[in-house]
């Protein structure tokens, strides 16, 4: 592998990410869409076994086992998992993404997003329901299970009906518009959520089973949840990133994900192999009454947003996100995006950043540049409580550089001079 070939492969990776045009095409059970069977659960981040899982992920496993009817109590779920009776695998290795704990079970309805330009698709966990108590933060009580069942039985079929009647919803143009409206689409999805709600509202009138459920669905989409669109943005980013998951000769990052214990990356030219290091403590702003001492380490598949060139890479496009994640100033946000440009192959013209003269968001993270400069990707993220099922803040995660160095060494071994 010559240097020139690496450069060409990386430019191809950038081209594939930039030409992706993800569209939302379906909502289906994970059993059908991902092929999950038996007692299999997908989780966020790099591979991890039950005994090493963090508290939020264990709680989400309990919720999923109860939701699937495998067990009748949280204690039984723990015993089932401890006995090795549940197969765990990363969402990322199955073309899927999940926020925070990221647990997806066979009967979980998932979004299906397709990119017909690159011929890829991806699936994402949708949401837990309109009542809080979210699975993604480890909740597994009756409210969580009721929310999951309602999404499965009411909201997901209504969304599926909308798509069957209306055809795919173009997420690429929606996200481009949302970026121009101030979203970086990791920790701020307010504009994108509004645009999606506008797109869904009229078709849902006919797709919902009755007026009461229509109101619940619309409240589900719109009420008190500017982050509702995150599932769609993650799914779109994953569909785009799948186009580089096996691109020989490329040193571009195809996956970044965290399981609450470890941060992991995969690299286009190294296929399925994970490179991991300790998940970071998130530097952020905490809700009143909480501090860093309450926080779980960085978790979730949502770093797919930075992998795709949004989130922390697009800080300069989103003045409004600065106060959410604790950036010091707009100048600081602009500098972050400029720093991210130092470690990326190029910019994505689909996502022009007005304050930077229309330059596209930094896209296609090159592990060579990360190691050369010592600059690691900045990941905007929510912060989960380490021992209670709730979000306690938001901030910026700075992942360890070790996985990037290890991946570069592995790449060098695969391509000896």
């Amino acid at each position: 592998m010559t240097a020139m070939n690496v450069g060409a492969a990386n430019r191809e990776a950038l081209e594939r990410l930039c030409r992706a045009r993800p569209a939302w095409t379906a909502v289906r059970p994970a059993r059908e869409a991902i092929g999950l069977s038996g007692r299999t659960l997908l989780h966020a981040g790099p591979p991890i076994e039950w005994k090493r899982m963090c508290w939020p992920m264990r709680g989400a496993v309990r919720a999923a086992a109860l939701f699937e009817g495998w067990v009748r109590s949280a204690e039984e779920a723990d015993a089932l998992a401890a006995a090795g009776e549940i197969t765990f695998a990363p969402c990322a290795s199955h073309g899927a993404v999940g926020p925070m704990a990221g647990i997806i079970s066979p009967e979980t309805p998932v979004l299906v997003v397709e990119d017909r330009v690159n011929g890829t698709s991806a699936c994402s966990f949708i949401a837990d329901g309109p009542w809080g108590h979210q699975l993604r933060f480890g909740a597994h009580g009756p409210e969580t299970l009721a929310g999951l069942a309602w999404v499965r039985d009411v909201a997901a079929p209504a969304f599926a009906t909308v798509l069957e009647r209306e055809g795919p919803i173009d997420l690429a143009s929606l996200m481009a518009q949302a970026l121009s409206m101030g979203d970086e689409m990791h920790m701020r999805n307010a504009a994108a959520t509004g645009l999606l709600a506008r797109r869904l509202a009229a078709p849902l009138v006919a797709a919902a089973p009755n007026a009461a459920e229509l109101e619940k669905i619309l409240r589900f989409v719109t009420r008190d949840n500017d982050q509702f669109f995150l599932a769609w943005s993650m799914c779109a980013a994953k569909a785009a990133a799948r186009a580089i998951e096996d691109l020989p000769g490329s040193t571009v990052v195809s996956t970044m994900a965290r399981n609450g214990i470890e941060f992991g990356i995969r690299v286009a030219g190294l296929g399925e192999r994970w490179f991991t290091g300790p998940a970071s403590v998130v530097d952020g702003l905490y809700f009143p009454g909480f501090t860093a001492a309450d926080a779980n380490r960085d978790t979730g598949d949502s770093a797919i947003m930075e992998t795709y060139g949004l989130g922390g890479m697009a800080m300069a496009a989103s003045p409004a996100v600065q106060k959410i994640v604790g950036a010091k100033s707009f100048a600081d946000a602009v500098q972050t995006t400029r720093d991210m440009g130092e470690i990326c192959v190029g910019g994505n013209p689909l996502f022009p950043i007005a304050p930077l003269g229309g330059d596209g968001t930094p896209t296609a993270i090159d592990i060579r540049k990360v190691v050369q400069t010592g600059i690691v990707p900045r990941i905007n993220t929510a912060i989960a409580h380490a021992k209670a099922s709730r979000m306690i803040g938001a901030g910026i995660a700075t992942p360890p550089s070790g996985p990037f160095v290890d991946a570069l060494v592995a790449f060098g071994e695969r391509h000896p001079g």
Binding site: V405, V409, G417
Partner: protein, 56 residues
Amino acid sequence: MNTTDVMPQEPLRVVNVGLELFARELEAQGVEVVHVDWRPPAGGAEIAALLGRLGD
């Protein structure tokens, strides 16, 4: 040795490479500084050689 033997009589103009702190300290003393943001690649000589081989 007199300090004038080692310190130039002309005003200092400095190119600072690496740690930005030095540049800021000199600036605070009114010295004209151009800062170059550079740091050695992680991993030492072996990694540097690998980067050289795999570089564009």
